[in-house]
Amino acid sequence: MTKLHELASLIRSKNAGPFDLTFDIMFEDQDSFRRCRMPDVFNAAALAPLLRVPEEKIKVFFSEAARAIKISIPRPVAQGDFGDSDGHGGQQYAALLDIDVR
């Protein structure tokens, strides 16, 4: 089975302000984007166990112009608060890398 990271040109995470974390999955070509934009995988209910966040806290977007899938969740710990491990939120995307693509 092909993994998401084999088709994406960029998978990244980043703060969207101090209280939110956002993931971008981008594609160089339209075919890879079309293949990966799987509504049954990239929806709040399906992503909840993977990202360990309640379903109602997850937002998913598909951007045709950017050929990108975007997922936003609340940060587990606010940026810079006691217990935060990643001030810029830049190393939080590991759970997305190996999503199976049909």
Binding site: F19, L51, S63, R67, S72, G80, F82, S85
Partner: protein, 455 residues
């Protein structure tokens, strides 16, 4: 009213640098002004709390000097927002001091206009009391006590603050905390360019060359705005904007890629179109701005949560590594017990053990929280009300961790490698961001204070 407004964006943030060649190339294209963002919440709450800056004075001086000289040479204004990282009043004054130094060293006369973004607590308490204080999505809870215990609160200024500052025809606008996009939208809005074009171009410009494909290092970005579109292009000939690179920049650091909130409304780019004009330039059209019924100013506040002391150590013994979760739990129990006998109850302190090699980076989000390595790094963190209590806890922690027994070995063991003496490092006061709220002012300018200075 101009048919076209050309804008030079210096870089992603003042102090991060840009190439002198790119700046020169941008100046030759006759921009109406140079804009540069000066800050972000990205470096964390420390900078709003302490007035320190994320980029050192030398890096900011280098960038500011080149930008002031370039702007003066063309007699165009230089607009800087969120000066000094958090856009506090002291950080604005610090930037004024740098400007004064540049004026003296370069024998230039520089007229500066400032605006200050720090908020009065009494004003905010009244807004809260009158229901003009609104939580955004995922906001922590805020009451009057939150406002009282905040060290500092800044409001994010909109385009109006830059427009007001520009009334005195300054060479440089030194702005406190402001919307990044507002730095770039303020002047074209005054020139009659439609708001959707102004704010979308502002959003793309605020990070400099970050909207280019495969940016190597921070650099300038150029845009030309007209009534129904804008064209964006990097100035480094080795860089290129592509429709995808420009479209995807709207995703960066935003929770919602299509609706971007600004003080006066929402930039809606759901129907934006991106077309290549050349191998390096992209034409953007179709962006819309939905004016809000009420003007809102976003707040950023910060409070002290205690004294932070950390101890770094590592473990190589495979038998301790194999039972690290149990070891950590027993360590916690041992420290709790010692602390109860020394510090007593009623003192609020916390111990956190990060296990690098297991889940130190991602914590609860880690998909594979198991150790595959022959060694692990541990960071023990203590949060206590004051330095003395934190030092007491750190000394207990070091000693308890050092000799904590495991079943495999009989006799006294020394189980953690601490590279430093003392083993702990005092990080100092720890701060947290404590609000994600907007205030509804009576006018866009009432939350900001304005000034001028001539050097």
């Amino acid at each position: 009213m101009r048919q076209q407004v050309r804008i030079l964006s210096a870089t992603s943030v003042l102090g991060s640098g840009f190439s002198e060649d790119s700046l020169k190339c941008g100046i030759e294209r006759d921009p109406l002004f140079i804009g540069c963002d000066g800050g972000s919440t990205d470096p964390g709450p420390h900078f709003l709390a302490t007035n320190e800056t994320a980029f050192s004075e030398r890096t900011r001086y280098r960038d500011l000097r080149l930008l002031v000289m370039a702007a003066k040479s063309k007699r165009i204004p230089l607009l800087i927002g969120s000066c000094g990282t958090a856009g506090t009043n002291a950080q604005v004054d610090d930037m004024l001091r740098l400007l004064q130094r540049i004026a003296r060293e370069e024998a230039l006369s520089i007229k500066a206009a400032t605006f200050y973004s720090e908020q009065d607590k009494e004003y905010l308490r009244n807004k809260l009391f009158n229901g003009r204080f609104t939580a955004l999505n995922n906001a922590p809870s805020v009451d009057a006590a939150t406002i009282d215990r905040s060290i500092r609160i800044v409001g994010m200024a909109g385009a109006e603050a830059f427009q007001k500052a520009l009334e005195s025809k300054p060479d440089v606008v030194i702005g406190g905390r402001a919307s990044d996009s507002a730095i770039f939208a303020a002047l074209p809005l005054q020139e009659g360019i439609p708001a959707g074009i102004c704010w979308h171009a502002g959003k793309i410009l605020e990070c400099g060359a970050a909207a280019a494909r495969r940016r190597k290092t921070p650099d300038c970005l150029f845009a030309a705005l007209e009534r129904d579109h804008f064209v964006v292009e990097p100035l480094d000939p080795d860089l290129a904007c592509t429709p995808q690179s420009v479209a995807s920049h709207a995703l960066y650091e935003n929770a919602d890629p299509e609706r971007l909130a600004e003080p006066g409304g929402v930039l809606n780019i759901a129907d934006a179109r991106y077309e290549p004009l050349s191998p390096r330039a992209v034409k953007v059209s179709g962006s819309a701005f939905e004016a809000a019924s009420e003007y809102t100013v976003k707040l950023e506040g910060v409070e002290r949560i205690g004294w932070h002391t950390v101890t770094f150590g590592s473990i190589r013994d495979p038998f301790i590594v194999a039972e690290i979760d149990d070891w950590t739990a027993r360590l916690r129990e041992a420290v709790d017990k010692r602390a109860a006998s020394v510090i007593g109850a009623g003192v609020d302190w916390r111990l956190l053990v990060r296990i690098y090699g297991k889940d130190g980076t991602m914590g609860q989000l880690e998909p594979t929280p198991v150790v595959h390595s022959h060694e692990i790094a541990l960071v023990f963190e203590i949060l206590a009300p004051d330095r003395e209590t934190a030092t007491t806890l750190a000394s207990m922690l070091r000693h308890q961790a050092l000799h904590l027994p495991i079943a495999k070995w009989s006799g006294l063991i020394t189980s953690v490698a601490f590279p430093y003496s003392p083993a702990h490092l005092h990080r100092g006061d720890l701060f947290r961001f404590n609000m994600k709220h907007v205030v509804t002012p009576d006018t866009p300018l009432e939350m900001f204070k304005f000034g001028t200075a001539t050097f």
